[in-house]
Symmetry: C2
């Protein structure tokens, strides 16, 4: 896949291929059976422990971490400990969130708690979190403490975001601002860290790392807005997620929250429908009606515009950092990739 003159697939592939061996070595350090469970989670083995061909995500975070090392002119490899640490924190949060949210599938595979039990999901998540710090400590450079500082801040935000997300489920109404704050914590914080941690390890000053964090923060919100759109209107065959998934769960995602805040007949009818507790499984017709009301109230268009606004803000943040044109073009292409994706 290319965006403009940039081969985005190659950038993502470089991130995965430089990061995966270090990640596998780190997971291999865990006491049994955590090593096996970790390996299953990453898709390197199947539920029986046989080698598998991986079913990992897009690899956006490691790609960004390596790219950011090039900002101060370092070798992309200088970003590898940061890429591995960010991936470990991301996957620690997936293991725990899937258990808390009782999600049974991820990337078309049964989640760890379903296959290996809740204890292993908790424990291996904890171990990945600890390994993330271990990898940064071992990177040994003079910048390790600065990288740990940023990763710690992002991890705290990630956990705050999950707490907010869980608390929203128990509430009737959530404002657009609260939803954006939650999504910022849950999605943007770690993407912001990914986009800056390589730069820190490569010796960039904090001022440049902060600007790269702003790029990642806005991009995270764009990413999440697109995710929220796909969660309602995405093509199930492409996303691998159940159709109307977010509606079925009555998730207070951006399009819903924006539609409820908009006012008017469609917004009011949507609010009335959501005020009635679901009586068992809802029908396709009920879900389709809710999707239509969200669209009629302007929730879909607002979220699409929000993604575009955040996309532009991400690009503007890049203006504050000197870097080679090739590196800048790659950051621009990754941002484009995030906003136009179909899954």
């Amino acid at each position: 896949m290319s965006v403009g003159q940039v081969d985005v697939s190659a950038i993502l592939e470089r991130g995965r291929s430089l990061t995966t061996p270090v990640l596998r070595e780190a997971i291999g350090r865990l006491a049994p059976p955590m090593d096996i469970v970790g390996s299953y989670h990453f898709g390197w083995t199947d539920a029986e422990g046989n080698p598998a061909t991986g079913a990992a995500g897009k690899g956006l975070r490691p790609a960004m971490a390596l790219l950011s090392a090039q900002v101060p002119g370092a070798d992309p490899k200088a970003g590898v400990p940061g890429a591995v640490a960010v991936e470990l924190v991301h996957n620690f949060s997936l293991l725990h969130d899937d258990l808390m949210d009782e999600d049974e599938q991820r990337h078309h595979r049964a989640t760890v708690w379903k296959v290996h039990g809740p204890e292993q999901a908790i424990l291996v998540g904890d171990a990945m979190f600890a390994l993330a710090n271990e990898v940064l400590v071992e990177s040994g450079g003079p910048e390790a403490l600065r990288a740990i500082r940023r990763l710690t801040r992002a991890t705290r935000a990630l956990i705050d975001g999950q707490a907010q997300d869980l608390s929203f489920e128990k509430r009737d109404r959530v404002s657009v601002e609260e939803c954006l704050a939650m999504e910022g914590n849950k999605t943007s914080a770690l993407l912001a860290c990914s986009a800056s941690i390589g730069a820190v390890l490569g010796g960039a000053p904090d001022e440049h790392a902060d600007a790269l964090e702003r790029y990642g923060w806005h991009l995270g919100l764009a990413f999440q807005a697109v995710d929220d759109l796909l969660g309602i209107w995405g093509d199930t065959a492409v996303t691998g997620k159940p159709s109307w998934g977010d509606l079925r769960q009555r998730k207070k995602s951006l399009p819903v929250v924006a539609a409820l805040a908009a006012g008017g007949p469609a917004s009011d009818r949507l609010a009335r429908l959501l005020a009635t507790p679901a009586d068992g499984e809802e029908t396709e017709e009920q879900l389709a009606e809710r999707a239509r009301l969200i669209e009629d109230a302007g929730g879909r268009a607002w979220t699409q515009e929000e993604a575009e606004r955040r996309h532009r803000a991400a690009l503007t943040a890049l203006d504050d950092v000197p870097m080679d044109a090739e590196v800048r073009n790659a950051f621009v292409a990754l941002a484009e990739f995030v906003v136009v994706r179909k899954k």
Copy 2:
């Protein structure tokens, strides 16, 4: 309580009183309701959120962290970030372990997952782990990275130990060596970190910190041996734990494992009894017989001797570190306190 010329209660009290305000401030940073849940866990509030008088543990870890800062001649307060970080990691592991082990009570109070649900136990545990790093990063001194390195190593060991402990439950036999390795990870690693992290923050060389870790490591094994004895023969009214608790759970603790390894008639009979799966709740007579067999096979005496051996090894490790006589006497008294305790 005094040991020799040293007032152990005062040392423990100093640790608690200097650490608790910083700990409370850190927990207060968490997004709601995690702040409330954390506060409940530490016993600062009851299940309804009303102020309570705390039901914390002995405070051995913070006391040691502060004392260890005095080894290189620093003010005990230099150890506070280390004490807080160690307490946060310890309590993160309690929150997750109580959930994994389905323990409903701790210090005579309902555990967090029973009161606030499994999600909050997972999430607040995660948050405490992240806060531990945050507090050390914020301590800002030149030694923060060295302290994080040691805390990370201890945390990884702690998680490995819990994985080993869980895996032992599914096995028929565990060797004495495996049991000691598990207890070393689960108990000694963090005590070793507690006894050295203040010294690191206070500027001690790694060689001295390593010797203090050895003191803490052996003391942790002595602590655990005593714990295992109390888990079978402790006075319920004093320990606050159910009578025959460890026997009822068929825990492969040191006295049991040592008794099974000893051979002879009592050992063989114990092995036969344990080979039969428990058919519902076991009677007091059945548990009492098992306790007697463990004692007859020498498991109780061996564990008592192990506690004494480890106690001596801890004191020997102190010989390798120069420090004021007052500080040395306090370390010696804390070790004595650990081995003679009744709860």
